[in-house]
């Protein structure tokens, strides 16, 4: 399957391309006061208001650097009301998409409640590239409710 490769700081990550709607260059986002650090703002995406998170802020607690290769990745997902919805995340060095076989993904035996969106690893030589599960990431936020990072109950990780 096709995966998108990007960086957060010095770490390489991957997401599946299937859920990606569009990759947009970095734009000016509408900031919201009192929102969590990792919430980058709202994106006027072709007339729709799309919430955008700074993935580096969420994972590494420092904001993405504004380089030409820093882009917004827009994801289609199904929200809590079972309606199609969209969110975006900012990532760095978004310059490559590559094909990986399903067997290349190796699941670790432990997962952490704070980072339920990490799924498996792909080995590239001696390096380990962490994959982010967009389904879990999209369910980790409750964009309708007062906005905060939502820790999934343990049982939802089993599916």
């Amino acid at each position: 399957m096709l995966v998108l490769v990007f960086f957060l700081g010095d770490d390489k990550y991957m997401v599946e391309c299937e859920k990606i709607r569009e990759i947009s260059p970095m734009v000016t986002l509408k900031k919201v006061p009192h929102s969590p650090d990792f919430f980058a703002g709202f994106f006027n995406y072709r007339g729709a208001v799309v919430p955008v998170i700074d993935l580096r802020q969420l994972i590494q607690e420092s904001a993405c650097e504004m380089r030409l290769s820093t882009r917004i990745i827009l994801i289609d997902y199904i929200n809590r009301d079972n309606l199609p919805d969209m969110f975006g995340f900012i990532a760095e060095r978004v310059t490559e998409a590559t094909k990986k076989s399903k067997e290349a993904f190796i699941l670790p035996s432990v997962n952490f409640q704070e980072t339920p969106y990490f799924s498996g690893f792909v080995m590239e030589g001696e390096k380990m590239i962490q994959c982010i599960d967009l389904n879990v990431l999209s369910r980790s936020f409750d964009f309708q409710q007062p906005f905060e990072f939502y820790h999934l109950p343990d049982d939802s990780l089993c599916d």
Partner: protein, 225 residues
């Protein structure tokens, strides 16, 4: 932090001893990678270009672009080639077009009685029948004085192994047209012309007659028998 990136000296070994250098002394790596574009250093230089900080107005520009609705091109458009014969514009589907060539000397055929067949032309060493769409479509000829020969071309069409060549007065280009934009030809258009026309469409404030390619080819075939 951004100054750090700007300080990196740009490596341009592909210009000093790579494939784009006039020097005869070549990089050792070329033996294994053949061309600079396969080399790690060149690839990294390309990646580094994207690692530059964003220019001032980059974000504003893209914010504007991303905020506007995407123009959706209609599905099912067909590609047509638009050409002019005398004063009238015609279009044929591009898929039957083989090529456009400069006007070739025509070899007339003795004792020809058929006004549509105007001669033989040499197309890349092959002899092809040259026909007149002007006669077939009954387009009124222009006065000779208004001729601009520099615009004249020959269109070679190739459909199911049949090749035809015909001269036109001008090629206007290839354009994508949606069948729903076709309008019926007005009744005042001469009968034979209308029969070959599937419909008219507007192109740069001019009307173009979209020809029924199958009927044109059928008639050409029939006229040769």
């Amino acid at each position: 932090m951004t100054t750090e990136i700007l300080d990196i000296q740009p490596v341009d070994c592909w210009k000093t001893n790579g494939v784009w250098s006039p020097a005869s002394q070549r990089c050792e790596k070329l033996k294994s990678v053949v061309h600079c574009r396969n080399c790690e250093i060149f690839m990294q230089a390309g990646r580094d270009l994207l690692e530059r900080p964003m220019p001032e107005n980059y974000r504003q520009e893209w914010t504007k672009v991303m905020a506007t609705q995407k123009e959706q091109e209609k599905l099912g458009t067909i590609s047509v080639i638009i050409f002019r014969i005398a004063k009238e514009l015609f279009a044929l589907p591009t898929r039957i077009l083989a090529e456009i060539i400069a006007i070739q000397p025509m070899h007339s055929i003795p004792h020809r009685k058929n006004p549509i067949l105007i001669g033989l032309v040499n197309v890349h060493g092959e002899i092809q029948l040259c026909v007149s769409l002007q006669v077939l479509l009954e387009v009124a000829a222009q006065p000779v004085s208004s001729y601009d020969k520099s615009q004249q071309r020959m269109i070679v069409i190739d459909h199911q192994d049949e090749q035809w060549v015909f001269p036109v007065d001008e090629i206007r280009g290839i354009y994508r047209m949606h069948p729903s934009t076709l309008k019926n030809a007005p009744v005042t258009v001469s009968k034979s012309n209308a029969a070959f026309t599937k419909g008219l469409f507007n192109w740069k404030e001019e009307y173009v007659a979209f020809l029924d390619s199958e009927l044109v080819l059928y008639r050409l075939n029939r006229s040769m028998q």
